[in-house]
């Protein structure tokens, strides 16, 4: 009897163990990620390729760094609220370790990586009957890669050229291009494909167009001429700009302000702009120029218009003897336009909202009349709520390329060879600003072109790079730079930004540029 009891017990145990081991199926250890879509099958239909190409647009968003692109160049000066790292950057004191310009490199290459991924996988999809779409998407992708290499060429110089997703150890550690020329060549090749494949107009407003690609191609040639001292590129640049002009679809908008507010986006002056919108917080890109602030509105204020800039902008008055409208729209100053109804001398501590109306901190007009604040891209419709949407972003598109730039660059590229055409383009720009008709020749022509560029494009991430390609940065610092800037500036070193540590530490085939070592 005991024996049976014992064997019963043993049997029971074995049975229990079996039950438990059987109930733990293999599936128990298979867990799928419930939060994401797995990459199992992608790039298989044209629709999926389209979705992939769409991701290139938000990638462009992060290729703008307000402070780093606008702080140097003389048109801006630091405020007392600037951080130590920013002061160091402004003074040309920063080191590769500070990492100020790293995000530019990282984000541009991020964009290039996406473009390479699309191009490498495009052929996997079934394009039967949709050849046109395939060509169009290919051209679109090349546009972004071309623009990417254009930025890299003039911001960083001699960089690795990566044209496909890495697979081997060697590919994960790409070496630098043999020369800066090669980088420009790559940009030119990509933009040419883009220009040839893109339509003149796109159904989805905001997509890259033939005009955008042509404009960037011209810009690439012109920058190459300046940065590498290859003047023959000017003619090539001129040809591209002429093509844009001859398309006949672009023009200057009457109201200069329309280029910087959400009221009249994607207007006839715009060749390419990044589309921003709140969209319920779904994750579409948003305007992040939150640093454009004035006292009382906004967050950090690091830069203000410089004395030199305000002088420069106030030099020439319009036909009606008023300040240049571009001056009035770019800077908030005493004698300029009121902002939300508050004149500059009533600013005081800042603009605030009282019962739905904006008021300044010194309504008696006792506020200082010196200096000014940035007005361009202020990204608020009015200071009282609900002006600024979620996350302090706004819906104001960022203009990347506009027709005024094409005209002035065209003028620049033909200034030596065809002064008449140069003057014609220049006059169009001056006309929009209501300036008296005037003709320029010789050195005065280039001087005026440079002057107009300052008036048009201040605070649009351009002036610093213009000075470098004109070889005038050092002169400019000597004329109206600060002592600290002069002390630290070195023309060879500061021609390009340093390579980020994140690249040098993780790429065995790349070393920091010599001037920055």
């Amino acid at each position: 009897m005991k024996k049976y009891l014992i064997s019963y017990k043993i049997a029971a145990v074995i049975l229990l163990l079996n039950i438990f081991s059987a109930s733990c199926k293999k599936d128990f250890l298979e867990r799928k990620n419930p939060n994401d879509i797995t990459a199992g099958s992608f790039f298989e239909t044209p629709e999926q390729v389209q979705q992939a190409v769409n991701t290139l647009y938000p990638a462009m968003t992060s290729v703008r760094m307000l402070f780093e692109q606008n702080a140097r160049g003389g048109d801006a000066t630091l405020t007392s609220g600037a951080f130590d790292v920013q002061i160091a950057f402004f003074n040309f004191q920063s080191t590769p370790e500070s990492g100020d310009t790293d995000p530019l490199w990282e984000n541009i290459y991020g964009m290039i990586y996406r473009a390479n991924t699309v191009l490498a996988n495009m052929d996997r999809a079934d394009w039967a009957g949709e050849e046109d779409l395939k060509n169009s998407l290919t051209a679109e992708t090349h546009f972004f890669r071309g623009v990417g290499y254009f930025y890299l060429a003039h911001m960083f110089g001699q960089v690795p050229i990566v044209t496909k997703p890495a697979e081997t150890e060697e590919e994960f550690n790409p070496a630098k291009a043999a020369s800066p020329d090669e980088v420009y060549d790559q940009a030119i090749a990509d933009l040419t494909i883009a220009k040839n494949g893109l339509p003149i107009e796109q159904e989805d407003v905001g997509r890259a167009t033939k005009g955008a690609a042509t404009g960037f191609l011209g810009k690439t040639y012109l920058y190459r001429a300046g940065y590498l001292g290859q003047d023959n590129n000017k003619a090539l640049a001129a040809a591209e700009f002429k093509e844009v002009i001859d398309m006949g679809i672009y023009g200057l908008v009457d109201n200069y302000e329309d280029n910087f507010t959400a009221v009249n986006e994607n207007n006839e002056e715009s060749l390419f702009e990044i589309q921003f919108s709140y969209n319920g917080g779904i994750g579409t890109p948003q305007q992040d120029r939150v640093f454009n602030s004035i006292p009382g509105i906004g967050f950090e204020i690091f830069l203000r218009p410089s004395e030199w800039l305000m002088e420069e902008m106030g030099k020439e008055k319009t036909i009606g003897n008023e300040f240049d409208p571009r001056f009035l729209q770019t800077v908030y100053f005493h004698g300029g336009l009121p902002l939300f109804g508050v004149p500059y001398d009533q600013l005081g501590d800042g603009i605030s909202c009282e019962e739905g109306t904006s008021v300044g901190g010194a309504p008696d007009g006792s506020s200082s009349t010196e200096g000014g604040w940035w007005r361009k891209y202020l990204n608020v419709n009015y200071s009282c709520e609900p002006a600024i949407s979620e996350d302090r972003g706004s819906e104001n598109n960022e203009r990347i390329l506009r027709y005024a730039d094409i005209l002035l660059m065209y003028a620049e590229s033909v200034a030596d060879t065809d002064p008449a055409a140069a003057n014609a383009a220049l006059t169009e720009v001056r006309d929009r600003a209501n300036l008296p008709v005037q003709s320029f020749a010789g050195d005065a022509l280039m001087e005026e072109i440079r002057h107009q560029r300052v008036l048009e494009f201040t605070y649009e991430n351009t002036h610093y790079f213009d000075l470098i390609r004109w070889n005038l940065l050092e002169q400019e610092l000597m004329d109206h730079g600060t002592d600290a800037q002069l002390e630290n500036f070195e023309s060879v070193k500061h021609k390009y930004f340093p390579i980020p540590e994140s690249e040098i530490n993780n790429n065995t085939n790349l070393e920091q540029n010599d001037p920055w070592k």
């Binding site: 298979e30 939060n35 797995t38 991701t55 405020t79 790292v85 890495a166 800042g350 980020p500 690249e503």
Partner: protein, 993 residues
């Protein structure tokens, strides 16, 4: 049960009955049982014998729970530390981890923060993995409780064992690589005659922290005058208010802001428990409540616990048991404004800035007080911020464990146990109306965000154990099968722009811009385990264990790992030659042991081995289109990390137990460590998980306990010490810096390949220049003047790379590490008649600490309040003998004496803290008999009594810095925003019925 000097033996049944036949007429019977003192009885032919065994006290005879079984410490071959629970319970702390400090060698515990309810950082034998958690596995009665040690009621604890090496912890699998803390809660007693009721409480106050020397209003303005001229006209940004003060000092009062933000705070704890048992079962039920307000503005913690343990003896073969526990706590968080602690905000506050306006409202900062035209220069009133912000955390924990044990045949037991733990977390972050000029606060106006998460884990354990003794051979074999699942689901959502600040739920009127996010994380483990103890004659001891684990975190082909371990011991003191020698009367017990084992870790995300698409929607004027793209490359072949642990040790007992202790030396290598290898941005960036990393930890542990008696005075002194040296042999890259708010203390800690954790790499300083000549002569080896912009009174920096310039990247050197090299604990207990005394001391040595508060208040620029030390600044005329750098409003542009990246703010961080002194008195039983109370003890306690340290900051115990990322790997020793621990005075009473 053994007949001495023969191979005859047997074991008793569960009922305690036994039967043994021996040919001899006179024999000695040796009776031993785990948990009881071995007894020898001489038998002279009696037919029946009744034997009573006495329960064992602490010492090598004590019982240890190891894995799914229990052993005597005598027989252990692996490194297990036993916590002194009695002295732990004399620490009036809300977090059991705090009580564990200094209690077990090799268990390194540091507070992240002194605020009530804040996280304690624990590691055992050093931090041995780079990504993922380094917290030891905490198991309470077999359940891996979600709430962790913080949610436990310390009074419920019966014993704590710490399993420190592979051979002891192997049975617990992954995460056991960080060590295991096994907690057993109190049970009822089978032999009780009646139920025992106990009530304990203590109440006390915590003292505000004293503060550092800051200037008062007059001194502050004097410093401004030294920099900006008598009339303060030297800079247009000098605040208006300072000029008004000069004109009319009488109009302003002086405020000591350090005083303002700290108050005395009460704390109390109540605990009641009932326990008992009988032949059919045992039970214990307890309930506890603890409430600790914090000395820092608006901090506090309170918690309620309930626990019920019971065991039922169905017959002499089957036992069923369960434990259920429930806890609920609320932590009032410190109001960090703009990523700064209340303290960092307070020390910069102007001495004449009143917290309140005459009408009773909190004063907000304004341009009148601020430094000119930029809101960033304003200093915020932490009281105002506190009045518009609220962020409490509510945590709940419910844990259940049930088991059934059945003896199948003699010596063979089957055990089935299942446990489930459910934790809930809720945090509501509310932000009210910012008011004028407060736009710089991060949160949107009138906003509410609610985060709710539920995490759970369950496990089912099936084990079979066979225990048998044949003569001198003793076996104890366990085998089993375990399944576990873990999950975490959270939802967070919010809105802003509510109509009024009375809103407390998302349904409040006026809320706009709604957003919601949520995620589910799950993982599972299946394991087969085996463990075997063998001992021969209680002299030669062997343990072998093996574990095979499969994890859902790895792809199918890489899913399984095998983890073996072995340890051996030699009980020298049981050898004949030892017993015969004279030394055996002095060294009464000596055991040498050594172990080697491999444990696995799965330190990566739950789903990392599968590639996912990134969702990137795009706007085209008027419509949103979907964007999807593959991400950066991932590694599908990622697999288990291995911790290879080696220990050798020695356990000894001298003079019959008067002195006992142990020594251990350990050497642990984490191989195949999962590290994220960064890809270069030019190939897309991102991180590639790879089994490439390598960390080594080694060190030494020592424990000594001494107990003695002098007349009526009994005392015990226990001392333990542990060292850890961590070497990061391969962490995927040469250099790692942590991320976090940089605007106060940028980049001072680095991790280097081949170095240790939390290392400070800073530019060395070497006094100040006293003359222009000194400056001109300070050249590098090529004759370049190193600091041409310096003036007398500026700091001389060391040009480490000899390039003639002082730069952050070229001139940093290794200064020290923020992680202590040696941790020590000392516990002293004494009894004299009815009095008892307990003193607890802990210490940490070898670390340096970065005093970030000094960095904040010693900057001469900006207009915040200054340290008194600036009054002694060098001045060529009035103070030429000082070694404190000169005042210079343009410091940043000139020599930047106050740069955060120099070793100016580094101080030695070693400390000894007297944590507790407790004096208790047991009321005489004669008094109590009349009221039918069985015992009453009253006591007084002092907590955080004193610190002995060279560190000049508030509290030398800086386990991590809460603001950057609260991760000790990156921020140990960085004293930025670490709230100090308060001294407290308590009175309490224990009553037993």
């Amino acid at each position: 049960m053994l007949v001495k000097n023969t191979t005859l033996g047997t074991t008793t049944g569960r009922d305690g009955k036994f039967r043994i036949t021996s040919p001899g007429k006179i024999d000695t019977l040796v009776i031993s049982s785990v948990g009881y003192v071995t007894k020898e009885i001489v038998v002279r032919g009696q037919a029946n014998i009744d034997i009573d065994l006495v329960e064992e006290s602490k010492s090598l005879e004590g019982v240890i729970i190891v894995g799914y079984t229990y052993q005597r410490k005598k027989d252990l071959t692996s490194a297990v530390g036993i916590a002194d629970v009695e002295s732990m319970q004399k620490r009036a702390v809300t977090d059991v981890a705090q009580a564990l400090q200094g209690n077990v060698a090799g268990v390194n515990i540091a507070a992240g923060n002194g605020n009530p309810g804040s996280v304690m950082h624990l590691n055992i034998r050093g931090i041995s993995s780079f990504s993922g958690d380094n917290t030891p596995l905490v198991i309470v009665d077999g359940v891996q409780i979600e709430g962790g040690l913080r949610e436990l009621n310390g009074n419920d604890i019966q014993s704590i064992q710490v399993l420190k090496d592979a051979s002891s912890a192997a049975i617990y699998g992954s995460r056991a690589a960080n060590g295991v803390i096994l907690v057993t809660t109190k049970r009822g007693d089978k032999r009780s005659e009646r139920a025992k009721l106990t009530y304990q409480n203590y109440v006390g106050v915590q003292e505000p922290y004293k503060g550092i020397g800051l200037t008062n209003a007059r001194e502050y303005v004097q410093l401004l005058q030294r920099m900006y001229g008598e009339d303060l006209s030297g800079d247009p940004l000098v605040p208006e208010v300072a000029k008004d003060y000069l004109a009319n000092p009488g109009n302003f009062k002086d405020y000591d802001w350090q005083n303002e933000i700290y108050t005395t705070a009460p704390m109390q704890s109540h605990d009641i428990s009932v326990s008992g048992g009988g032949q059919s079962g045992t039970f214990r039920v307890s309930a506890g409540y603890v409430d600790q307000r914090g000395i820092t503005l608006s901090t506090g913690y309170k918690r309620a616990n309930v626990r019920a343990n019971s065991q039922f003896f169905v017959n002499d073969k089957i036992t069923i048991g369960q434990s259920i526990s429930f806890s609920k706590s609320t932590t009032n968080m410190e109001p960090f404004a703009f990523s700064r602690s209340v303290y960092s905000q307070a020390v910069k506050q102007y001495p004449y800035f009143s917290p309140k306006l005459p009408n009773g409202d909190w004063q907000t900062s304004s341009f009148y007080y601020g430094g000119g035209d930029n809101p960033e220069a304003l200093i915020r009133n932490p009281f105002h911020y506190n009045s518009i912000w609220n962020g409490d955390e509510h945590i709940g924990d419910l844990s259940i464990n049930m088991f059934a044990e059945a003896e199948i045949i003699k010596g063979l037991t089957y055990r089935l146990s299942g446990s489930y733990s459910l934790g809930t977390f809720r945090r509501a972050n509310y932000f009210g109306d910012k008011g004028e000029f407060q736009d710089e606060y991060f949160d949107p106006n009138l906003s509410l965000e609610e985060r709710q998460s539920t995490s759970y884990n369950w496990n089912v354990d099936n084990t079979v154990r066979y225990k048998r003794t044949f003569g001198k051979h003793s076996f104890d074999v366990t085998a089993g099968f375990i399944a576990q699942q873990f999950g975490d689901r959270f939802i967070v959502g919010g809105k802003d722009g509510f109509l009024s600040d009375l809103t407390s739920t998302l349904n409040g009127p006026g809320g706009k811009n709604p957003y919601a996010e949520g995620e589910l994380q799950e993982s599972a483990l299946i394991s087969g385990i085996g463990q075997a103890f063998y001992s021969y004659d209680e002299r030669y001891l062997f343990t072998v264990n093996f574990r095979r684990d499969g994890s859902s975190r790895f792809a199918e082909d890489y899913r399984w790992g095998n983890f073996p371990g072995i340890s051996v011991g030699w009980r020298l003191s049981n050898e004949k030659f030892w017993k015969d020698s004279k030394i055996s009367s002095f060294i009464t017990d000596l055991k040498i042991r050594g172990g080697y084992g491999v444990l696995g870790r799965q330190n990566l995300g739950n789903y990392d081995y599968t590639a996912v698409l990134n969702y990137v929607p795009t706007e085209f004027n008027g419509s949103v289109q979907d964007g999807l793209i593959t991400g950066t490359p991932i590694n599908e072949a990622i697999s288990w990390e291995r911790l290879i642990s080696k220990t050798i040790g020695l356990d000894y007992e001298l003079m019959g137990g008067k002195i006992n202790g142990s020594f251990d030396y350990y050497h642990n290598d984490t191989e195949d460590m999962i590290i994220g290898v960064e890809l270069a941005p030019s190939v897309g960036g991102g991180e590639f998980q790879s089994n490439e990393g390598l960390i080594n930890n080694k060190g030494f542990e020592m424990t000594i306990n001494y107990s003695d008696k002098i007349g009526e005075l009994n005392f015990t002194a226990g001392f333990n010490l542990g060292t850890t040296k961590t070497t990061l042999n391969n962490i995927g890259r040469e250099l790692v810096e942590s991320e976090g708010p940089e605007w106060d203390v940028p980049h001072v800690i680095e991790l280097h390949r081949g170095g240790g954790l939390s290392e400070f790499w800073l530019i060395k300083t070497n006094g100040i220049f006293k003359s222009q000549e000194e400056i001109d002569n300070y050249k590098n080896s090529h004759g370049i003047v190193i600091q041409p912009n310096a003036s007398p009174g500026d700091i001389r920096f060391v040009d480490a790379n000899d390039d003639g310039e002082i730069t952050s990247e070229g001139d940093r050197q290794y200064i020290g590490t923020g992680v202590p090299k040696v941790n020590m604990g000392f516990n002293f207990t004494a009894n004299y008649k009815n009095f008892d005394l307990y003193v607890g001391v802990t210490g940490a040595f070898g670390q340096v600490t970065y005093n970030a508060i000094n960095y904040i208040v010693e900057q001469p620029y900006g207009f915040g309040n200054y340290s008194k030390r600036l009054l002694n600044a060098y001045d060529p005329v009035i103070n030429p003998n000082s070694n404190f750098p000169r005042l210079n409003a343009r410091d940043v542009d000139d020599n930047w004496n106050s740069r955060p990246t120099s070793d100016r703010y580094i101080e030695k961080g070693s400390y000894v803290k007297i944590r507790n002194i407790e004096l208790g008195y047991q009321l005489p039983s004669t008094l109590l008999q009349r009221v039918k109370i069985s015992s009453v003890r009253v006591f007084g306690r002092l907590q955080n009594v004193a610190s002995f340290t060279k560190y000049s900051g508030a509290d030398p115990e800086v386990g991590s810095s809460p603001m950057p990322n609260d991760d000790p790997i990156y921020t140990a020793g960085l004293d930025r925003d670490t709230a100090p621990q308060a001294r407290s005075y308590m009175l309490g009473i224990n009553i037993s019925f």
